[in-house]
Symmetry: C2
Subunit: 395 residues, 2 copies
Amino acid sequence: ESIKRQESTDPLDPYSGEPSRHPALQINSLKPFNAEPPASVLADNYITPSAIFFKRNHLPVPKVDPETYRLEIEGLPGGVVSVTLSELKSRFPKHTITATLQCAGNRRSEMNKVKQVKGLNWGIAAISNATWSGASLREVLLHYGFTPEVAINAKHIQFEGLDKDVTGTAYGASINLNKALSEEGDVLLAYEMNGEDLPPDHGYPVRVVVPGVVGARNVKWLGRIVVSHEESKSHWQQNDYKGFSPGTDWDTVDFKSAPAIQELPIQSAITHPAEGSSVERGDEEVTIKGYAWSGGGREVVRVDVSVDGGNTWHVAKLHSSDLGRNPAPGRAWAWKLWEIDVPLPDGAQELEIVCKAVDNSYNTQPDTVGPIWNLRGVLSNAWHRVKVKVKDDQK
Amino acid sequence: ESIKRQESTDPLDPYSGEPSRHPALQINSLKPFNAEPPASVLADNYITPSAIFFKRNHLPVPKVDPETYRLEIEGLPGGVVSVTLSELKSRFPKHTITATLQCAGNRRSEMNKVKQVKGLNWGIAAISNATWSGASLREVLLHYGFTPEVAINAKHIQFEGLDKDVTGTAYGASINLNKALSEEGDVLLAYEMNGEDLPPDHGYPVRVVVPGVVGARNVKWLGRIVVSHEESKSHWQQNDYKGFSPGTDWDTVDFKSAPAIQELPIQSAITHPAEGSSVERGDEEVTIKGYAWSGGGREVVRVDVSVDGGNTWHVAKLHSSDLGRNPAPGRAWAWKLWEIDVPLPDGAQELEIVCKAVDNSYNTQPDTVGPIWNLRGVLSNAWHRVKVKVKDDQK
Ligand SMILES: [Mo]
Ligand SMILES: [Mo]
């Protein structure tokens, strides 16, 4: 039914040209389109297939003609530069990274259970992992005239999408200049996702991939880059995507008092078993699976799992790519999937399964949601908890 | 009495030549000398006076003659280099940074209350803040022949102290090469602390200051630097200063399974009021003070304070240096002190004061100690909790 509703052909509807989507996606909002894969399949693949990679659109998907597409770059000494898609592909080496993107609102639904927040009611799957290929933003900026002198004043790189609201205002965001300029930053002007052209929902023909940084700064349908002394003036940079104390409400909030979210904190969640499911006592153990990831290129080094609500802990087995290579320090952009078989505690009728991850800065997740609750429901990274029943065997 | 005991003159005692220390220090171990300032004075100064800066020695303090001192550098293409103190001071520009150092065992006493751990029973003051001046390690390595080709194999920089145990084994540690080589890493071969020669307890004549990284890698009495493909083989790098799951005990621990601690996680603690003290109900509010810091150059952006055990939260006022300048992104090496006046809740007989900090990656502290407990008692960064009584006024 929701598929049908997407295929509106009303020419006055700015959403009439939206692409078709995979039927398994769980839709949080149709216009703009926001959806996540079922949690149960999220950890089936180390690389998330593009069709079920979570979709987080703020505005209608723009239709972009690759022939007339231009990426404008402003704020460099030589003035405005206009780059075609084929120039971007031919003038610069193609780099490929594997990077996990996560929406700032991932796991917001757990905050909603504490107290209502403002935002899409994401489950645990507003996070996915893909390979991204494209030009290095650093190399593009250096090619078009960036010099160390520019950095004396410029501190930010602003991005503007080709997606626009009814007033013509485009989606926008910015990142720190040093992230964009660092060789170890690995920021890409990506034109491929998982080895193919970017799908329309993921920014065709070009998006910026800022690994280790919140999804909201990974601007899709990238139209403009501005090297600037200030952050993006967009709503999403200034008055959204910031964290606050649990005591801050809509009457008292001062958006200027908090920094725009860039690097995300340590995160993990249980994808199997599902909340409310059951395990057989005769199986003697329960297999638990999930994902773990941290922002800023910090590598996940351990995932602790409990089946008794956090009283006793077991260490899960981690796996990353098939290649088995260790990422360079500070460049662990991709998640780890994890798995563990835990013995069923004698006589337990119910298990409270809990996971928490640790990254190589030894940051860890907070125990409970309440004390990190915030009015926008972002940064929801408390221990993930799933309750399952232990069923006595049918004799 | 402890002062007297320090002044042993027994020539067979390797600790007979130890410097005299400030009488206010709270001693955790005399030989080797380990001591912290009283928590009540820790946050009185943004820059901790050197005399009360926490002391963490692993071995006797070596007596080093500045005239014959040599810093050896190995692993560069030109072979071993030997640098005098005056060469270090005259050949390289003097850089100054303000950086907080924290012992991995800071707040270990709170873990001991959960279950006994192995290590010195530090309170909340095994952390201090100073200005450090010296040569840039990056510039020294480049001067003596480091080239990008060296980095093809070399991944670590090892440090060896001039402090030795009875078998002649020196204290040692290592850091990642990219931290040492990055301009933004700010690693110093420091010969001054707070504007004066390093005191003997802090590494005279030269220590390495690795801002954002655990104290244990900030090797004092630095004698040797080795550019290497591997980490330091020292006990302290290989079999100590690593974090484990609460379920890991001395029978099951595999030190190879965990990374050596480098960047430390987000931390904060309450320095005023003291545990067990009282406030007057007639004062109507309680003034609470403390410190907050995070590893990896991540800036503390908020400290939340509760007087009801974490049910409701207030945002503290942060202050850093007198200059009021913001640190560059990723280079917030120094702590923030914080303060807040919180109204006394009606009728409360006792306050459970709690603090937790948030850094600019939006990492936050875990709620409780038990789930981060580990057999070495390191990385103790749960919410800090202090109980005080509310006294009814004497009429
Ligand atoms: Mo997002
Ligand atoms: Mo330490």
